[in-house]
């Protein structure tokens, strides 16, 4: 009934609205997708064709030279290896700290709960700033160690709040009561009941942390000087700023011996495209699978506790 009514009374204006809406969304789809698509296409094309403007939508002069150059470019692989370590170990540390923070703050019977909640909340809005924090990290002897990449950011209170709210709102209170009757302690209840029941929220938060580590550039900029410890993002930044230097480093691929400066520059540019693809490939593969979880995380965060 209702549907019919709408169709009769608003067919003209709503029809226009819907058509325009579809058009806008189609354009937006292109705007969101094309830059990423172009990176993929450019990385697979002959650099000469890319520079001449013949590559816009599709591969021209298919070439894997950029990827071959990438395999030889060591800083990226050092960065890759380090980032995998920082992401894996860092996320584990994050998750342990997050649960240790979230669980006690979710227990209403804990007398000190409100005090410590405020203690944590203050850190969201006020901090010492760059230099005082740097001095603390330096004082602890963490500069130029892998720990500088993981310890100073070991806990995000925002994420801890998401987990805490889940503990409080989504796990039935009766479960704790019955566990208590069975003689379970908080530790046992947390490990055997609360955590297994919180898998959805824990995986979301872990994903947030992991993406944060994978994309982290700032931490290394401030705390890491040692070239052997730099993460992928720093290696990529160096690549961006050194096109000329890079061109000079590139050695001829084949037995032709000499390579013109122009060809070297082109190959250097090709290397940039392939590096970018290499750095976002893990994300592009995992993203469609976990996209729903990310979105769920936003909803979970939106519920105020």
């Amino acid at each position: 009934m209702v549907k019919k009514n709408r169709i009769i009374s608003n067919s003209v204006s709503d029809g226009t609205f819907d058509a325009v809406n579809i058009l806008i969304n189609a354009i937006l789809l292109v705007i969101f997708m094309w830059p990423l698509w172009f990176m993929v296409v450019a990385s697979l094309s002959d650099p000469y064709e890319v520079n001449s403007g013949n590559v816009v939508l599709w591969v021209k002069g298919f070439s894997l030279n950029g990827y071959r150059e990438l395999l030889k470019y060591e800083p990226i692989w050092i960065g890759y290896r380090n980032t995998i370590l920082y992401t894996a170990l860092g996320t584990v540390i994050n998750m342990v700290m997050t649960v240790l923070c979230a669980y006690p703050l979710s227990r209403k019977e804990w007398m000190a709960r409100n005090f410590w909640l405020k203690f944590c909340l203050i850190t969201m809005y006020f901090g010492g700033g760059l230099i005082p924090t740097y001095l603390v990290v330096k004082g602890l002897g963490l500069l130029d160690t892998i720990w500088a990449m993981m310890i100073p950011g070991a806990l995000s209170f925002y994420n801890a709040l998401i987990v805490r709210n889940y503990f409080m709102n989504s796990i039935p209170v009766d479960l704790f009561e019955s566990a208590k009757l069975d003689g379970a302690t908080h530790g046992q209840y947390l490990l055997k009941v609360a955590l297994p029941l919180s898998k959805p929220v824990l995986s979301v938060v872990a994903l947030y942390y992991a993406v944060g580590h994978w994309n982290d550039y700032y931490t290394a900029l401030i705390y890491i000087n040692d070239r052997k410890l730099i993460p992928l993002q720093s290696a990529m930044k160096d690549l961006m700023s050194s096109a000329q230097v890079l061109a000079a480093q590139i050695t001829p691929l084949s037995s032709e011996g000499m390579m013109s400066v122009k060809a070297k520059m082109e190959l250097a540019m090709s290397l940039k495209y392939t590096t970018i693809i290499a750095s976002i490939i893990p994300m592009l593969i995992v993203y469609p699978l976990v996209q729903k979880h990310f979105v769920k995380g936003v909803m979970l965060g939106a519920i105020k506790g």
């Binding site: 009374s9 608003n10 816009v56 669980y103 010492g128 940039k272």
Partner: protein, 314 residues
């Protein structure tokens, strides 16, 4: 009188604390690492803010270093570039806010009313993706795309018969590049929260509006927007509270000698002065100034919205 009242209270507090430590010792033990973490990495640096008022000498430590009062603040405000820094910082974030904030809401509304279910799903999924790309990659892409002559943007310009433009070395383009690449990156992601709010709008309101013959546009204006007002206000307060937090990474990465006059912001200045020139006291002072402005904005926008709309964060 007061003492008499306080004493038994304190006593009761201690008793309760003792009992709590005994019965909930596991909770205390669990939480201990968190307390240590925040004490070391948040509260200790807050104590380090004293540096803003001291001439730091490594041997004497923070406490032993001599006081200099408000010298650093005076130096900052009398400096030739202080107003430029503040203007650039506020300019970038206000521009980002004015462009990004309404667009996220509009995008959510468009998606919400999209009649093609499949297109909706695809657009949603693709629009969230840029949010997960690192700032370094985004800046790399911007540099590559905007390279004079051979960058794809300039190639497209050439195809239209236009001259090649060296976008990143022109100060007048910097703000727009920063803001619109940011919109590209986060518009989809920011829309999620509005989409979920829109899904929660009372369907009864829509049904009766439809019976009254209201068009979709009218329903957006008179039903949807008023219904999600509290979400909008909440996010607005939070955004305004961080108005001085211009993304350091992106500005730093896009900065070059040619666009410096518009791309130098407070956070890049604190970094340069503090870590590159090791002027710890001065850098801390500017950082503190930045944090305080943020707090003022947060408290101010919260109070304003409480008065105007009855919604507030606390």
């Amino acid at each position: 009188m007061q003492n008499k009242k306080k004493l038994p209270d304190m006593h009761g507090f201690r008793q309760r604390l003792k009992r709590d430590l005994k019965s909930n010792w596991i909770l205390w033990a669990m939480f201990l690492p968190v307390v240590i973490y925040y004490a070391v990495f948040n509260y200790a640096p807050m104590y380090g803010i004293l540096l803003a008022f001291k001439k730091y000498e490594i041997k004497k430590g923070i406490l032993g270093s001599p006081w200099v009062g408000l010298k650093y603040f005076e130096r900052f405000f009398s400096g030739y570039n202080s107003w430029n820094l503040i203007r650039n910082t506020l300019g970038l974030s206000l521009y980002s806010f004015l462009a990004g904030f309404p667009l996220a809401i509009i995008f959510a509304l468009l998606l919400h009313y999209l009649t093609l279910g499949k297109l909706k799903k695809v657009v949603q999924m693709v629009s969230y993706a840029p949010y997960f790309i690192s700032t370094v990659v985004i800046c790399n892409m911007l540099v590559l795309f905007m390279t004079p002559d051979t960058g794809i943007f300039n190639i497209l310009l050439a195809k239209l018969g236009l001259e090649s433009v060296s976008f990143l070395s022109m100060p007048e383009y910097f703000k727009s590049i920063y803001v619109w690449s940011g919109v590209w990156q986060s518009m989809g992601w920011s829309a999620i929260i509005y989409l979920s709010a829109l899904a929660g709008v009372d369907p009864g309101l829509h049904e009766s509006a439809i019976i009254d013959g209201a068009s979709k546009l009218k329903r957006i204006l008179y039903i949807d927007l008023p219904s999600i007002r509290s979400t909008i206000v909440m996010l607005m307060i939070m955004t305004l509270g961080g108005i001085m937090n211009v993304g350091f990474e992106k500005v730093y990465l896009l900065q070059n000698d040619l666009n410096f006059s518009v791309s130098d912001v407070i956070s890049t200045y604190t970094y340069r002065v503090g870590l590159q020139q090791a002027d710890f006291g001065y850098s801390t002072a500017i950082g503190l100034f930045n944090t305080l402005i943020n707090l003022v904005f947060l408290i101010g926008s919260n109070a304003l919205s409480r008065k105007a709309t009855g919604e507030s964060l606390w």
